[in-house]
């Protein structure tokens, strides 16, 4: 297994939402940042430097994997990421309901769940972060 990990530095995040745009373009091929698999959660009180990037933690004991009745969530042994196999998915939305962090997201237009799969080992979002708040190293 590769030893690279997704590193998130909330103190560096300016909530510019470049990562959301990059993710939306990479996975949906359209600029729909609200459906991105990474979310820059801006501080509700608008204090500067208090934004948090919320992206899948690829949990070891993942609730989404436990909840899936169809074994449609598999772990990529190369990157350690849990990825969603669309051809096995029965779209019951159990995984979306089960994730405690909101990183398993429901796409209402396509009626599919979606999650961060680390882009197969080269996360697009990290390349577009201007401050280095999200790094893959």
């Amino acid at each position: 297994m590769e030893s690279k990990l997704m590193h998130v530095f909330p103190e560096k995040c300016t909530a510019c939402r470049n990562c959301e745009q990059a993710c939306a373009f990479a996975h949906l091929h359209e600029g729909r940042p609200t459906r991105a698999r990474i979310r820059a959660d801006a501080d509700p009180q608008q204090r500067e430097g208090k934004n948090v990037l919320v992206v899948c933690y690829q949990c070891d004991a993942a609730a989404c994997v436990a909840a899936c009745p169809a074994n449609a969530l598999w772990r990529d042994m190369k990157t350690g990421a849990v990825y969603h196999v669309e051809s096995r998915c029965i779209r019951c939305s159990s995984c979306v309901a089960a994730c405690p962090f909101g990183n398993m997201r429901w796409e209402p237009l396509r009626q599919w769940p979606s999650k961060c799969d680390l882009c197969g080992g080269d996360p697009v979002c990290t390349r577009f972060c201007p401050t280095g708040a999200i790094q893959y190293k």
């Binding site: 436990a66 029965i90 997201r105």
Partner: protein
């Protein structure tokens, strides 16, 4: 490893692998309607017919459903012979006559040059082609609320005695996996009605957006022991909660 030939291409199959899975892995297109990778193959739609033969069969060949035929040593598979295409067109004519409004059937028929079937078209025919995906998904992966009932022309998919099922959790897996969108349901964000049963949709405890039905998390908690509180918040609000928790720890 088993060695065989598909459309002139030498391929290697795992023991017990079915021809359809093997062909798809090798990038050979075989049309299907009843195939879903989450469940066992059923051979219901008969669209994946292929012609198989062996060198020692002295010219004899037979038509088999690729989704149910296991790979054998020395098998020669053809997916595009005239016999295969004729059978495939015949199946599509029958399916189109039964379900003239089903988009998936119409698209496949069009690809095979059929716009008007030669059989009498059932104008009132519903979209269900009895492919069995919904019943297989529900009985093996969810709660087994629906099944095929009756025989012959009266055969259909339904709950027992057409009554509201007491085990259905309203997850909509059947409707969403249906290739022809034949399963009707209503969902206005407050109530969800499917198979004659009406469910309350739980509103997100933070923003009020609809999440899942009340029965869905109960079934999941019982089956997998997943924490039940996580089900009452929608995915967008859970992101906010995660951010808030992180902020509390960091600053």
């Amino acid at each position: 490893m088993i060695r065989l030939t598909i459309d002139g291409k030498r391929v290697e199959a795992r023991n017990g692998e079915f021809l359809l899975a093997l062909a798809r892995r090798e990038g050979i297109e075989i049309p299907t309607l009843c195939h879903h990778e989450a469940v066992e193959p059923a051979g219901a739609c008969r669209l994946c017919m292929v012609e198989v033969t062996k060198a020692q069969w002295n010219g004899f060949s037979k038509l088999v459903t690729a989704c149910l035929y296991p790979a054998e040593e020395g098998l020669v598979v053809r997916t595009d012979t005239e016999r295969v295409m004729k059978t495939r067109r015949e199946v599509l004519e029958l399916l189109l006559a039964r379900s003239p409004r089903a988009e998936a059937v119409r698209r496949l028929a069009r690809q095979h040059g059929i716009t008007v079937p030669k059989y009498n078209v059932d104008e009132e025919g519903d979209n269900c082609i009895l492919c069995d995906i919904c019943t297989r998904v529900c009985s093996t992966l969810v709660t087994g609320a629906i099944a095929r009932v009756n025989r012959g022309v009266a055969k259909k998919v339904a709950t027992p005695f057409d009554e509201a099922s007491d085990v259905c959790v309203g997850c909509l897996s059947c409707a969403r996996s249906c290739p022809t969108e034949a399963i009707a349901f209503l969902d206005d964000g407050l109530k969800r009605t499917i198979w004659g049963k009406t469910f309350d949709v739980v509103a997100c405890s933070v923003c009020g957006a609809p999440t899942v039905t009340k029965e869905h998390p109960l079934w999941m908690a019982q089956r997998k022991g997943v924490v039940e509180e996580d089900f009452h918040v929608c995915d967008a609000c859970k992101v906010g909660k995660t951010g808030q928790a992180c902020r509390k720890v960091m600053w």
